[in-house]
Symmetry: C3
Subunit: 207 residues, 3 copies
Amino acid sequence: MFQLIELFAVLAGATYGVLLARRHRMDFVGVFSVAFIIAFAGGTLRDLFLDRHPLFWIKHDEYAVIVFVLALVTSILPQIPSAVERWLFVPDALGMSLFSVVGAGFAIEAGTSMFIASLLGVVAGTFGGVIGDIVCNQIPSLFRPATPLYATCSFSGCWVFLLLRKFGVEELIAVIAGLSVSVVFRFAAIHWNLCLPAAREEAQNDE
Amino acid sequence: MFQLIELFAVLAGATYGVLLARRHRMDFVGVFSVAFIIAFAGGTLRDLFLDRHPLFWIKHDEYAVIVFVLALVTSILPQIPSAVERWLFVPDALGMSLFSVVGAGFAIEAGTSMFIASLLGVVAGTFGGVIGDIVCNQIPSLFRPATPLYATCSFSGCWVFLLLRKFGVEELIAVIAGLSVSVVFRFAAIHWNLCLPAAREEAQNDE
Amino acid sequence: MFQLIELFAVLAGATYGVLLARRHRMDFVGVFSVAFIIAFAGGTLRDLFLDRHPLFWIKHDEYAVIVFVLALVTSILPQIPSAVERWLFVPDALGMSLFSVVGAGFAIEAGTSMFIASLLGVVAGTFGGVIGDIVCNQIPSLFRPATPLYATCSFSGCWVFLLLRKFGVEELIAVIAGLSVSVVFRFAAIHWNLCLPAAREEAQNDE
């Protein structure tokens, strides 16, 4: 099951990457690289931090082929239909939630504490996008105030999964519950524009 | 002893991260993430480069809890007293020096040459801040000319520690000496605004 | 032989790093750091991804000394002769090609598929420059459209090497063929300004 989930997460991340790269008018190499980074960076950090080898995209080498084909096909398309971009938040939310719960699951299996497992889930779920934004030279949206909740949804989903698992709920059900909470929370955050308040520090000495 | 030193280093890094994030008006997630990155990135690179597992913040899972609480408390505070910001260079210098000497010590124990150990000390001591700056989308202050010496202090402290250790001085004394040199050098650099000269290359073709 | 190749690649990367840092008017620490990052980052990612320890620059500790001396000498020079900068593309193309083919070779020896090996070759060959650009706070030239082919040359060289190797050609010959294709392709790309077309997406909603 985790296999299928991971594949969906990779696809969602890569699609998001392709669109981000096209918005920056990159060529095919840029599109593929950004798609690859967004789809794989979070899980790679998870694997490196937990010393899991071979890395998931080295082990499942079909993932990279899929991202390659996706980038190639979308590069040939003259234009991405704007509807795709409008609905992009759906695969993005799915990908983030899937990587988060799977990441937390791998971490707790490796023997970390629950808090560390939830953090690794958030890293796995959100750092693909963070590194993608850094590569495109913009402050990662994760760190910008007044953007709808994102890491918070990932964090909540991880905790729902971890707590259910701890109280003996079957793994599959715990995964589905964590996933659902994260995805629904994210959709709600987008729909009602839920934000955390920004730090109220005076910023006079801001550069 | 290294335990206590590392805890101080983490606290100093996290405090600096919180203030940096607030200056960029980030929300709680941003504040926590930047604090986490600045406190843990240097040591994580050290552990990954030396193949030390589990990573120090996975092993000592209380560190992440402490950073979380620190970010939470400071997010609730309406304003950080400006005195804190004025004295921030003290924990920052301590954190940098502590991570540097501990990093060099771990490296030399892992069997690297002294030069490599001093470089890993500098990476451990300074790359939290470098990655923090990258995440906030500014050129890392480490690489900007006309800023007071920073990596140079870390490098000097590492060498004092490594040379004393090589000549048979007791480890504790070597650590304290290396630390003191690094911290005092950094304070002196700030006080007298000691800088390295910038490269004198003509920059007409600078973009 | 791989030893000598790697040394050349490190030298080429470090030289490029020194010039990039001087263009940004960095001081000695900045120059050394950027030279170090550009020379070692690609190979470090390769080693971490393939779980090769100790990392190549920890094992061959003379590399770091060489980069240090190079950065020191060039920092003392009042000015880099502009001829050096004009011919810089030669060591850059060599370094990129060398790291690419060596990286692909290490990957295929570690048992990855050919496609993954070619990607790891591209990462090893080009990510030093990508991370160097990120550190200098500019969009990596790898991802900018309308720049001459770069990653594509690396990718082609890796495939020539991998295919020849697969069909039983002697390793040395496969390496030389891969290298030559990559270097010549790169020179041709610069000379005739060969680019991939940028994505034709409308960018009205670009920020």
